[in-house]
């Protein structure tokens, strides 16, 4: 007993003098660790973004030229006064919204199964879900071309069944299908986390109180995973708005391929109208930022 008292006194003496130093340490040192990432962010993201913002207010002085420092809003006026750009903007938003919605609907059962699964194949299932993301973009899109083209796998199969064939290549539907496939994993993962947080006994409570599967979904799963649904939807929407390779390859040169991102791409790379490309980019960015703000507001209203 005496020994115990003695040793505990020894311990309490030890840290006492060290305490003031230990107090200072965390606040003083840990901030330094963030410097490399903050520096990189400023040098390679914020600064170029500011330069681009500057470009968007300059005049188009011929291909690959940036007009003299002469701040105008011509580029923005051009965008919002030409019906063509309104159409592209509308198509982009519709495609992105449809892709995000379908992806969330497809992802929900997958995420639910993963979240509730106790199977030892769970890791394999996760890998399968991630697969589209780790497949090379070109390979993936050429794969879709093989499936979707007029004489492709899908139509051959439909013909074999005696059904009418579909035109999917170079159509908005085709773009939506291909985008949905690659973006669905994002919804799966944002839903997976929130569904795992939902106590499975809540589902049994609903059933025990007389509810059906529909009530489980409507009264427990959707309200309690609402944050994940919104986050997943927005994550996909943002990426669908920004997607350009898939619309370019599957949508082609026609209307189906003309979305905001491909427009920026053509302006920047083909027509070399850099100020207008910059302005279009910032319109895209503004839309996305507004949606993120809206999401925050919706989540707060829910609480």
């Amino acid at each position: 007993m005496a020994e115990l008292v003695h040793s505990s006194a020894g311990v309490s003496q030890g840290p006492a003098p060290a305490a003031p130093g230990a107090k200072k340490a965390p606040t003083a040192n840990y901030g330094i660790l963030l410097l490399p990432s903050i520096g990189t962010l400023i040098a390679f993201f914020i600064v170029p973004l500011m330069i681009m913002l500057g470009y968007s207010f300059r005049r188009f002085d011929g291909p690959a030229q940036v007009g003299p420092v002469h701040y105008v809003i011509d580029n923005y006026v051009k965008f919002f006064t030409d019906l063509f750009y309104w159409e592209v903007l509308g198509r982009t938003l519709v495609v992105a919204a449809v892709v995000a919605t379908i992806a969330v609907v497809i992802a929900y059962p997958i995420a639910y199964t993963l979240a509730r699964s106790k199977s030892r194949w769970k890791t394999l299932m996760v890998v399968i879900v991630v697969l589209p993301l780790i497949t090379n973009l070109v390979v993936r899109n050429y794969g879709w071309m093989v499936i979707l083209s007029d004489n492709g796998l899908l139509n051959t199969f439909l013909q074999y069944l005696g059904l009418p064939t579909l035109t999917l290549m170079f159509t908005t539907t085709g773009v939506i299908v291909a985008l949905t496939q690659v973006l669905t994993p994002f919804a799966v993962f944002s839903l997976f986390g929130v569904i795992q947080q939902i106590n499975p006994q809540l589902e049994e409570s609903v059933r025990g109180l007389g509810g059906t599967t529909w009530h489980v979904v409507k009264d427990v799963l959707i309200p309690l995973s609402w944050a994940g649904i919104l986050a997943g939807w927005l994550l996909i929407f943002v990426q669908a708005v920004a997607a350009f390779a898939t619309p370019l390859l599957i949508g082609g040169g026609g209307r189906a391929g003309q979305l905001l991102a491909t427009l920026v791409f053509t302006d920047a790379i083909s027509t070399l109208n850099w100020p207008f490309a910059a302005a279009t980019s910032f319109i895209m960015t503004a839309i996305v930022l507004m949606l993120i703000a809206l999401q925050g507001r919706m989540l707060r209203a829910k609480r």
Binding site: N199, Q201, L202, E204, S205, V206, R207, G208, L209, G210, G211, T212, H215, D219, V220, P223, L224
Partner: protein, 375 residues
């Protein structure tokens, strides 16, 4: 709420016949027969993995039996989904809907039953008053304490006036003090509204204090059933004897009839002899277990010389655990250790008249001897 029912006490509300449940090739429940009478509180008691929770989940309809039949109120519901069974269930984790206010939680089952809004509001208010939470209807579940949440869960289950109330370890998430109070409250409520109830617990004290009838389960089977006192006083198996309460078990055999009428002599393998009450199934030569509850043993100072009398042992005090109302002594005998529980006198200054290392004499009456089958 529901007025006290004046139904026949023998009316069976729930019956399980030969119920089995296998998960793959593993038997969770091997064979359970159960009959629950109206307005009774029946407890399924056993260690974890004994099949009690699986049995409850089959009664609720969350699992379907591999074989056997479940009948509620004369209707075969063996394969009826839970939402069509008219049961109320309270889980260990409360599982209140975290996004719904307390009153909406309680109203949920009524809503699903299409009870009109006015009646719903009325019944929710009554149910919340019944569990003493009349003022808390507008709160969210996470604004309540654990005990209050448990009472909301209880109100949510009984407001639908289920045929059977199922309680799945309802108190194990609460601290000891609250648990004891909730035991009384639940029991009181259950009596007051006359609710047929099946309780699942691994806590033998909870089972003894709350139940009309206890079903002790072990390894997927019913080990013994009966009233709390019969389970405690006449355990039929060594499992029941050691699971319910504390006991000292001795292996041994019946040797012969005693000199006194109506008594038999049991000789423990560790050496001593005990006089026990005669019973039909106790013929000489049978290997049996003798169970001596700690509170049936009497300690007295040793006279010094070795007593050869039956129903007595000499030992030394190896440990003294003062527990307030009683004191538990650990007694070392030449062959093994025993536990003895002594009620402390209320007014006595020094409740413990013995000291560690002291040689003492243990004795007991023939009635204290419980004979248990070896299994």
């Amino acid at each position: 709420m529901a007025e006290l029912s004046n139904a026949q006490p023998s009316e069976i509300v729930l019956r399980l016949a030969g119920v089995q449940k296998y998960f793959g090739s593993v038997a969770a429940v091997e064979n359970v027969e159960l009959a629950v009478q109206k307005n009774q509180l029946v407890t399924l008691l056993g260690p974890s993995g004994c099949g009690k929770t699986t049995t409850l989940r089959m009664i609720a309809g969350f699992e379907f039996p591999t074989a056997g039949q479940i009948v509620i109120d004369g209707k075969d519901v063996t394969y009826t989904p839970p939402n069509k069974r008219e049961i109320g269930i309270v889980f260990q984790s409360y599982s209140l809907f975290p996004h719904l206010r307390v009153s909406d939680n309680v109203a949920y089952g009524l809503k699903r039953r299409g009870v009109p809004k006015e009646e719903r509001v009325q019944r929710v208010r009554e149910a919340l008053q019944l569990v003493d939470l009349g003022q808390f209807g507008d709160r969210l579940p996470n604004e309540l304490s654990g005990g209050q949440q448990q009472r909301v869960a209880l109100a949510r289950a009984i407001v639908i006036r289920p045929k059977i109330l199922l309680l799945d370890e309802p108190l194990s998430a609460l601290d000891a003090k609250l648990r004891q109070r909730m035991r009384l409250e639940i029991r009181h409520l259950q009596r007051q509204i006359g609710m047929t109830t099946v309780l699942v617990t691994h806590d033998q004290e909870e089972a003894l204090s709350m139940s009309d009838h206890i079903v002790v389960m072990n390894k997927g089977n019913v080990e013994q059933e009966g009233t709390p006192s019969s389970i405690y006083r006449q355990p039929k198996t060594s499992f029941v004897a050691s699971f319910i309460g504390e006991t000292n078990l001795f292996k041994g055999e019946i040797v012969h009839a005693a000199n006194v009428d109506g008594l038999l002599v049991f000789r423990a393998d560790c050496g001593f002899e005990a006089c026990i009450r005669k019973a039909d199934n106790l013929e000489p030569g049978r290997q049996l277990l003798l169970s001596l509850r700690p509170e049936t043993l009497t300690i007295s100072p040793s006279q010094g010389e070795a007593e050869a009398s039956p129903n007595a042992l000499r030992g030394t005090v190896a440990g003294i655990n003062y527990l307030g109302a009683r004191t538990v002594f650990e007694i070392k005998t030449p062959t093994r250790d025993l536990m003895v529980s002594v009620q402390n006198d209320a007014g006595s200054e020094a409740p413990v008249a013995f000291v560690e290392g002291q040689t003492i004499r243990l004795s007991w009456t023939p009635d204290a001897c419980q004979i248990v089958e070896i299994n």
